[in-house]
Assembly symmetry: C2
Homo-oligomer: 306 residues x 2
């Protein structure tokens, strides 16, 4: 492998994971999760979302989480904290909370974007452009998500060229990293090749991340293929928390534990202590009394003495 031996694992559990769990989790437990993952050595954590709390109660208190990180009340070690902002209003609140890194999102499928946020893709991009302007003015880093990049629950197939167009639009707004998302978990390694190869060619490995869902069991195989192609930033969720409310039967995000185990076995470094990571996720799942979907974690739990 000619690419770097270091893989950046971008932890999305505290946001993407918990936002898509049915019941909200207490701020105390979210603090516990974030601090534990940071202590295990995770470099990037999506910690919250500046959305309307009446619509997304799971993300209530995201400002408090960010303020606690800024003030050191929530020890985040060397981890970079990220927050999702859906629009300018969210961005303004994020600025007030002192965030340094935000993530924006749009879909590659018109039907999904309409259903998910009631905007056309062009409208999303116009809103993101304003968010990016605000970010620039405040020295805030921006990451972009392109959802339904491998298929849409309403439109079916989404072409690689359509996705490439959205990626290029985001890059043109100065967004430094774009995460290509398989929202409904339909991708296979061939589809990964067809989309991720041109994306890497156009934007480079420093600008591209992948975000797979394990709905049909293919998330880790797709990740392997993305790594083969040179991707070095992979999104995943502690314990496989979360999913997508619009995707029937979706079993959620790629589990970080399974990803870390594979990377470790392949001699790729992540900076994360897998045992410490697992202990945190296990304890968190006990606290919130919900099972996790990570297979590695299940094996770890059955042999763990803790």
């Amino acid at each position: 492998m000619s690419a770097s031996d270091h893989v950046r694992v971008f932890e999305v559990g505290p946001r993407d994971g918990l936002q898509n769990e049915k019941l909200p989790v207490s701020l105390e437990d979210r603090f516990f999760l974030i601090a534990g993952l940071a202590r295990a050595g995770v470099s990037d954590i999506e910690v919250g979302s500046f959305v309307r709390e009446d619509r997304v109660p799971q993300m209530a208190g995201s400002a408090e989480i960010n303020q606690a990180i800024v003030e050191g009340r929530l020890p985040s070690g060397t981890a970079r904290a990220w927050s999702l902002v859906p629009n300018v209003r969210g961005m303004e609140n994020a600025v007030k909370a002192g965030v340094k890194r935000v993530a924006v999102f749009t879909a590659a499928s018109e039907a999904f974007n309409q259903k998910n946020i009631g905007m056309t893709i062009a409208q999303s991009l116009a809103e993101i452009s304003k968010v990016a302007d605000l970010a620039r003015a405040h020295g805030i880093q921006v990451r972009g998500y392109v959802s339904t990049a491998f298929g849409c629950p309403f439109e079916g197939q989404v072409s690689a060229s359509q996705v490439m167009g959205v990626i290029s639009s985001l890059a043109a707004l100065g967004i430094g990293e774009i995460s290509i998302g398989d929202t409904i978990g339909v991708a296979t390694p061939r589809a990964v090749e067809e989309l991720v190869r041109p994306a890497l060619q156009a934007h480079g490995a420093g600008a591209i991340a992948v975000h797979f869902h394990d709905t049909r069991g293919t998330a880790l195989a797709n990740t392997l293929r993305a790594l083969d192609l040179g991707v070095r930033t992979v999104d995943s969720s502690a314990g496989g928390l979360g999913g997508c409310p619009f995707a029937p039967g979706a079993t959620g995000n790629l589990a970080t534990e399974d990803l870390l185990y594979m990377l470790q076995g392949m001699g790729l470094s992540t900076g994360v202590d897998l045992d410490a990571f697992c202990r945190t996720t296990l304890e968190f799942s006990r606290r919130i009394n919900r099972p996790v979907s990570s297979r590695y974690l299940a094996a770890f739990a059955s042999t763990c003495k803790s």
Copy 2:
């Protein structure tokens, strides 16, 4: 990909899967499963095991299953039926039942072989040699399993050269196909490269199969890497049935549905109708009232009208 676009999916659910389920399944339900999988177009099915019924009640009636296939009472379409034989005694019973294809097994780890069947690897090979002689005399095809090829629950790491030695010994006995098994589900794609590449170089793709367990979530990624290397026979289990009784926390075999979905998406042909396969496994899991671990099947079930 220079290798063939056809992948032979070797279905082990009715034997490896059900043998490792706690409660025995009725012969009627096993007939249902085998007939349904054959109807879906599966080319190879491990249907039973000629073991002591007092020790392995899950496999009781394997002679009856084989006789029913021979007499056409169990319609198996064009599927090739295989049966496991642990020793000469089992082989003699298999011959009586009219089997045409048997599978033998040994471990790559001494400690596991001792614990599993109370023999050294050399003793296993001596027994297999006698089984192979009987097979030759009766025109019976033989497949060999090498278990714990990527790791042992008692010895830990197992070296690729140790496994290669066992594979070569089996090949020297005239065994035409050897399935390399990750019994405890510890393999990662790099370990697959280190073992499967030399195995293919020494014996060719026609002689090598892979058999992954999904204990740590890596089975499909490992399979992808094996396919990259040129492997064209993959073992898997309907619904992910089964596991390994000696492996704590083992969640069982690679699920055939997840494998078929990935292969289909990659443009690799299998001859299997995935929908028909899923309908059979779903109905079987309802009949025996046990959940399945296949993620594709869970997604299928949630959207299926049947």
